[in-house]
């Protein structure tokens, strides 16, 4: 559905040196995926979306969306919905005019009833005559969401930080609508900083840093990679073994983390000392842990290799 192979993108900053935004960027998104692209600030996530959408031309490499190369205004865009990171909309239009304009560019001529219904869904109905330049950040974001759901032919949705500035209720509603769309076969390409959100809806993720993808995998397998620790809670005792990483200590209990390979050693220790074990559970790894360890690991590796070279 979406494929990027060995993509390099660089551009000139005014009066500054050339900046490489993407280097050896590789990505594959299969039909029906809810794909999350993660990365720290400046990793090149938005540049990646612009390149996939054909708004930026790569210096090298190939980009294919639905088997074709996208370019500005391509007819393929009738199957694509795009939500930009910033509210780069036609600010001189009112909410209703903007929705109508974007719908007409897709080739639709929605009735005022249909527009009213969509605006009501996102709580924008009473602001339909308000100019976008006078709308709040959240309202502009909602206008962006309305225009992506206007495209009934959409087979792919590119969403750059979709829940930015949204209230919690609208976030939940949007998430449900997104999952509903995905059930109907729409592929979703999501770029987000909110890892819990990605964890909730994505089935595949890629983590990128400094312009290239470090890891790309199914979310489940990515989370299971780091499931090698157990959370334990036991009766306080002396001489706690060094392999127990104590996280909390009170008069009544000690909480800690143990690597799975040392778990039986720990049981032996408890048996010998006749110490009571209260809780022992596999530690649930969150995407945040995975993301932090991978990104930190990569930056440390780069730092080490730089120090080694120098």
């Amino acid at each position: 559905m979406i494929e990027a192979k060995n993509v390099y993108v660089s551009y000139n900053r005014t009066f500054r040196r050339r900046v490489t935004a993407l280097s050896d960027f590789n990505l594959t998104v299969k039909p029906g995926d809810i794909f999350g692209l993660l990365g720290p600030n400046g990793a090149g996530k938005s540049t990646a979306i612009y390149t996939l959408l054909g708004l930026l031309k790569p210096d090298y490499g190939t980009v294919r969306v639905m088997g074709e190369h996208l370019y500005p205004g391509s007819s393929l865009f009738q199957f694509i919905s795009y939500l930009p990171e910033e509210a780069h909309y036609h600010l001189y239009l009112t909410v209703e005019e903007a929705i109508n304009y974007y719908a007409e560019l897709y080739g639709y001529h929605p009735s005022s009833k249909q527009i009213k219904q969509l605006l009501e869904t996102f709580g924008l109905d009473e602001f339909r005559q308000l100019k976008l330049s006078h709308c709040s950040k959240g309202m502009k974001q909602k206008v962006g969401l309305v225009q992506i759901f206007l495209n009934h032919n959409a087979k792919i949705m590119f969403l750059d930080e979709p829940t930015r500035g949204l209230d919690p209720l609208t976030t939940v509603q949007f998430r449900d609508m997104l999952l509903e769309k995905n059930k109907n076969g729409v592929t979703i390409f999501l770029n987000s900083h909110i890892l819990s959100e990605v964890e909730m809806i994505c089935n595949r993720v890629a983590i990128m840093d400094r312009g290239h993808v470090i890891i790309e995998d199914e979310l489940k397998s990515l989370l299971s990679r780091k499931q090698n620790q157990y959370e334990v809670e036991f009766e306080p005792c002396t001489d706690i073994p060094g392999y127990v990483f104590v996280t909390a200590k009170t008069d009544s209990s000690v909480k800690g983390l143990i690597d799975s390979e040392r778990l039986y050693d720990f049981f032996d220790f408890l048996k010998q000392r006749k110490v009571k074990l209260y809780i022992c559970a596999l530690k649930k790894t969150t995407l945040e842990h995975v993301f932090t360890s991978i990104v930190k690991g990569t930056s440390n590796e780069k730092k080490d290799s730089f120090e080694h070279q120098s």
């Binding site: 930026l56 780069h88 600010l91 560019l105």
Partner: protein
Amino acid sequence: MKRKILSNIKADLIFFSRNGWLIGIVAVLVLHALLSFIFGGLIPLYHANRFENIQNIVGSINNYGFIIVVALGIVTIFSHSTQRCLKMVFTKPCLPDVWIFSLFLSIAIVAILIFFLSFLTGSLLFVIWKVPYQPGLIFVCIKECCEAMIMSFFLLLLSLIVHPLIAVFLITVLNESSLYYICLSVRAALESTSTFSFWHAFWLNISKSVSEILYRTVPIINPYAEKFNEVVKSWLVLSEDWAHLTVYVLYTMVASWLMAIFSTEALKKKRLI
């Protein structure tokens, strides 16, 4: 395609009516017109020749119209580049060609409306003041409309290539009259003496070639200048003047079409993110 062009034209016309810069320009021009009318126009209006009054009023409206029409293209490009909203257009099935064509059409519509208004005002004054109608009125309005459109489209094209502010400075050099005088000056310098050093002569020859190429490349804003100036002064139109005007209108259409093509290419090369 037709629907998309209409949607873009609608959005452009809304933009023209709401943009702060354009509203500001119109407000300044209206204020200028009012002040000119109150302090400089009232007395001659009652005493001078009525025909001359009509010429002055239509001339003023045309001048104001020219400034407004020229501003439309550059302000649109400047505003859309600053707001970075073009990516919302081009991530939909709407080609840059369609957007540029719609913008050119929108500017043409406004230009035609403004100069038609000028024509209507003149015609009304002919009737009110019972002055014999002069066909020069329609001639002048058409000529000024073409001039304004060519200038606006050329500035629009330049503002897609360089920053709009630089485009405004460039247009002061890259226009037919400036380039004509530059060509004449360089030619005169070359012919004045033959005792140049090699490098002096080399640079003068380069300057001559460049200025002549540019002179032939830039769109002509005021063709048949001498003949047209006569008509503008007297509002008497001979049949050959109509023929020249027809050629100028055709030239405007061809030049606009070419500038639309170049603008599209410039837009495609522009960073849209």
